[in-house]
Amino acid sequence: MTLSTSSAHISPSTAAVEDAIRAAADRREPLRIEGAGNWLDAGWPVTGTTPLSLADATGIVEYTPGDLTLTARAGTPLDEIARVTAAERQWLALDPFGPPTSTLGATIATASVGPLAHAFGTPRDNVLGLEAVTGDAEVVRTGGRVVKNVAGFDLTRLFTGSWGTLAVITEATVRLRALPEVEESWALIVDESPEELDALLTRLRFAPLEPLALELVSPSLASHLGVESGRVAALLVRLGGNEGSVRSQRELLRTLSRPVAAPHGVWHALRECEPERAAVARFSAPPSRMAHTWSAARNASGASTQTFVHASVGRGIARCILSVAESGAAERLVDAAARFDGTVIFERLPADLWPRTRSESATGESGTGRLARGIRSRFDPMNVLNPGILGEL
């Protein structure tokens, strides 16, 4: 299948974004940029009030399976991309936490990732080019539609993960991969004591194993996901490749532990495990310190069964999810983050707690803070794009 339309003209939905930004700048009414709206309750102190929805900017613009690239409008849901590419035995290897209706544009704008980042990297590694409208209503194209490109300064990387504060992404070209010939997932029972965890992760690091994802889940999360681990932590291993390679990796897992088949749909369930009202933070440090990072995140979560912790062990990142229905839980998370000797990034918090979390590096008087502010003022001079979402930039 080849879907193709000319990319030279500006599509109506891009023109609408352009108009909305121009009007917002004229009226000094900041915009709040929305994709599927899944993250709007994350509590960020965005001062933008006028919604700018990308919900109508949907559809696949170009897909040539032989090129393993796809161009789609920003509002296209990830599950639609998954459906279309699966018909060609391909996929976009990005599985951000949240509902599958999350849009391509929001995934890129927020640089959101999931377990597959272990093997396939983050949006910055998978996005080839963008169309975006800057805060002064200029339509710009970055990168291109081919898999390798160093022409010009890299606005693709700059806009990816900029939370809509520099430009509103209206279209993106992404790299696809072939779906593995064989795929299967296993759960390994894990002893969470730092020594045992360290020993297991060290063995995994040197083993002839190339998993697609390697995600440690806390006992409560394992049980929520239906993993038969008997209320202890589990390591979910997603294997993919040809028959021979998957078979040998499966055998290898048997030498490390007693793997049980992971429940069907476990990765989807993991992506959507967040309760409706949650506080979420990611703790990260070098992977060699994973056991330490894991216990910091586990301690932050407390003993409540309403809290989940999972970690991308190859990347050294633990994600802690607390239900804010439990009083004091979110405060506990913020306090634990302050004590952690690594990096903490918050995803969701009650609005009143955000001011306590801002890291100096992003907004302070440091060189990078100054560069960030300089970039912000040049790409959104009227301060109309999601102001406040990254703090006082």
């Binding site: 390798k148 022409a151 990387r157 700059l158 990034i345």
Partner: protein, 486 residues
């Protein structure tokens, strides 16, 4: 041009920082630094300065900042876009003496290196731990990690492993103003804008990397190298498309056409390629040993189905190294054909390979020139090379006309103008083919944050007229005026 009195004073100041032998000022000494890997361009810098330590680098940059003097950072000078050339009042800052591999962390698979560390020396140092540095430009025995960061360099194995951008986790950068900033985070996730991503590939226009933290990659358990030979370049292109579409991700798929094969085979790098073939594919598969045989068999079958005469699997490491050496030294081998060589670096969608290669052949026939194609077929990154004699004005004109026609054909096929060599000076004129005025202006805005005076590698990457706010940068404006009247 800096007045000679000022130049002498500056040279003396810089000698105070880097020592007597760390500054070159005589025209004969500067000759080496007046071109890079693309010998068709020549620009003579005012001075060349070579810091031995990061502290000397900082003092050098700050000295130049205090005087408002432009500079061009240079690694090994192997670049293929005339990106490391300086002229007029600009000073070359040579980083090749800052070549220390500061530390290797085998557990987290990270290395911290100085910018002048040679690419292959990092892989050698990492090999003690069963690790390597994945991006492997053909110039890897000479090119530096700092230069790789500036150009976002690729290499044959980037098909599977990604380019420099995907392997750098943090940088310490000295901005043109002399301020030092840390970009990225080697100890966890990064927060805020991806300034690291913006810096990588900025071709020396945003500042100088003082140290680089890179990710190391585990050596694969198994490696198989295949050589498939074809009687037409289209067949080779179809085999490439079939392999990509099959879902196998080879570490590399490299193509060489007939003229390249014969140039290599006639040189000291003769690799045993069949000299009568019109194309060969050098395909490397790596990864887990289990399942490897099945992938090798599938690749062999796909090549044969696309019309390969033979597919041969290298029997041992020596044969594998020989096959690769022919590929990596192909540029050098072309030096035998004619005194001058122009190299292109366009990338096209992979399904367009057969069409575009046919078009390139037609253009070459029409202009009566010889094109040698040696390139990264797996990611559609073409390197049409044209050998010629620049003393022959008519031939030069035909070559340059052909280059422009080839570039247009690649862009019309949905491609881009450079996949790994960078824009530099060489591809400036093509930037408007792929970017609108607004898009180019947006790139200028980003540059202006890092280098408001536009003193770092001036005149490269984005054509000057594209920058709408050009008049707001007084130092740069003065320089443009000087260039206009030079």
């Amino acid at each position: 041009m800096v007045h000679s009195v000022n130049r002498d004073r500056l040279a003396a100041d810089l000698r105070d920082i880097v020592g007597e032998r760390g500054v070159l000022a005589r025209p004969s000494e500067l000759l080496t630094y007046s071109s890079d890997g693309l010998p068709t361009y020549h620009k003579k810098p005012a001075l060349a300065v070579f810091p031995h330590t990061r502290d000397q680098l900082v003092r050098t940059v700050r000295r130049l900042a205090a005087e408002g003097i432009p500079f061009v950072a240079r690694g090994a000078g192997t670049g293929l876009s005339a990106g490391a050339l300086a002229e007029g009042d600009a000073v070359v800052i040579g980083l090749n003496r800052l070549k220390q591999i500061i530390s290797i962390d085998p557990v987290n698979r990270l290395a911290l290196v100085e910018p002048g560390a040679v690419n292959v020396s990092l892989t050698r140092a990492a090999s003690a731990y069963g690790l390597h540095y994945a991006p492997d430009p053909s110039s890897q025995t000479a090119c530096t990690i700092g230069g790789n960061v500036a150009e976002n360099s690729g290499g044959p194995h980037c098909l599977k492993y990604g380019v420099t951008l995907n392997h750098v986790v943090a940088l310490t950068v000295i901005l043109p103003s002399g301020e030092i900033v840390k970009l990225g985070n080697a100890e966890g996730e990064s927060t805020g804008y991806d300034l690291l991503g913006a810096f990588i590939g900025s071709e020396g226009c945003f500042g100088i990397a003082m140290d680089v933290t890179v990710r190391l990659t585990r050596n694969p358990e198994a490696v198989r190298t295949l050589l498939a030979d074809f009687t037409s370049i289209e067949d080779g292109a179809r085999a490439t498309s079939a392999i990509i579409a099959s879902g196998i991700v080879p570490a590399a798929i490299e193509m060489m056409d007939g003229p390249t094969i014969r140039a290599v085979e006639a040189s000291i790098y003769a690799a045993g390629y069949p000299a009568d073939a019109d194309a060969v594919l050098l395909i490397e598969l790596d990864g887990l040993a289990a399942g490897m045989d099945a992938d090798v068999a599938l690749v062999e079958r796909l090549c044969m189905e696309a019309g390969a005469r033979t597919v041969r699997v290298a029997r041992d490491e020596a044969e594998r190294a020989r096959l690769w050496q022919g590929r990596k030294k192909a540029f050098g081998a072309m030096g035998r054909i004619a005194p001058d060589l122009v190299v292109q670096d366009a990338v096209i969608p992979r399904t367009k390979l057969p069409d575009v290669l046919r078009t390139i052949h037609e253009i070459a026939e029409r202009e009566g020139i010889q094109v040698c194609n040696v390139f990264h077929a797996g990611d559609g990154n073409l390197h049409p090379n044209i050998s010629f004699d620049s003393r022959n004005a008519d031939q030069s004109a035909r070559v340059h006309r052909a280059m422009r026609a080839i570039m247009r054909a690649c862009v019309e096929a949905g491609g881009t103008i450079t996949g790994e060599h960078g824009v530099g000076l060489d591809k400036l004129e093509y930037m408007p083919l792929i970017f609108s005025d607004a898009s180019l202006d947006a790139q200028c805005r980003l540059r202006d944050v890092f280098d408001p005076d536009r003193r770092a590698n001036p005149g490269k990457v984005v054509p000057i007229h594209s920058c709408r706010e050009w008049s707001l940068a007084p130092a740069a404006r003065d320089r443009t005026r000087q260039e206009a009247t030079a």
